[in-house]
């Protein structure tokens, strides 16, 4: 079923997703934009997990999928908490620019 596709194809796809997500995290000022970048990075990790579990074979076939499910679960928790914090910041400061949240800096 692999039909000429190797592990490298999927790893490179995950790498590209990770790089785009990392660029998004590094270059954004909008706090929601940073969260979007983190979601991209987590998806890249999941692509790698599933690819390794498919091409690894053997008894470890389901381990990668189980780990991917844990990653998705933590991503959901992280998104909910992160967005709640961002909304709380917006209620207090009327902005979600990460450069403007400097109330705690000395």
């Amino acid at each position: 079923m692999t039909g000429g596709l190797t592990l490298n194809h999927f790893l490179v796809l995950g790498l590209i997703l990770f790089l785009l997500g990392g660029y998004c995290v590094l270059s954004r000022r909008n706090a929601i934009g940073i969260l979007l970048g983190i979601e991209l990075i987590l998806n890249a990790a999941n692509v790698n997990y599933i690819a390794f579990s498919f091409f690894g074979g053997g008894s470890a076939k389901y381990d990668g999928q189980v780990f991917a499910i844990f990653v998705i679960m933590l991503a959901a928790a992280e998104a909910v908490i992160g967005l709640a914090i961002i909304l709380a910041i917006y209620q207090n400061l009327r902005t979600i620019d990460v450069g403007a949240t400097e109330t705690l800096s000395g």
Binding site: T2, L7, L15, R29, Q65, A79
Partner: protein, 165 residues
């Protein structure tokens, strides 16, 4: 050949959508383009024989996380940002950092002799995943439920409007 064709289609959808997410100046476009990236990754899961992960990706990422994110985008004003770059890290440093990291990882991917198992016939994965969750992974599974409960309560406490007396 058909598998390769499908893979490249899915990869193109995923990478283009992720590119819009990363480079768009309007956060609304970024949030909506994320749909394409999630859907493309879901297709990749199907290609790799992970049918349960496909459903999970559709339900949780597209049906849950993306909707919550778009809600948050709509609830915050001044979202169409003009100056996208960060104070600490600008466009070029971010680009150079990620290009350097990407070059190192690409070198590692290409040079490593990966182990390729014989392609197993495709079969439903729910039985194995269920066994794994209630067998060797039962402790992380239970801890995950506590994490989700804490996240639920925490989100409600953090985001509720303070009523000041």
């Amino acid at each position: 050949m058909l598998t390769q064709f499908i893979f490249y289609i899915l990869a193109a959808i995923t990478v283009l959508s992720a590119g819009i997410t990363a480079f768009s100046r309007n956060i609304v476009y970024s949030a909506f383009a994320l749909f394409g990236a999630f859907a493309g990754v879901a297709g990749i899961y199907i290609l790799l024989g992970a049918d349960f992960l496909f459903i999970i990706q559709i339900f949780i990422y597209i049906g849950g996380i993306l909707v919550v994110t778009i809600f948050a985008v709509m609830l915050t004003q001044g979202i169409a940002e003009v100056n996208v770059s960060n104070r600490a890290v600008g466009f070029m440093p971010a680009l150079i950092t990620m290009a350097g990291a990407g070059a190192v990882m690409l070198y590692a991917i290409v040079r490593t002799p990966w182990y390729h198992a014989k392609a197993a016939p495709l079969a439903p994965t729910t039985y194995g995943i269920g066994n794994a969750f209630l067998g060797p992974y039962v402790l992380p599974f239970e801890v995950a439920s506590i994490v989700l409960l804490a996240a639920l309560v925490g989100a409600v406490v953090i985001s509720r409007q303070e009523t000041r007396q």
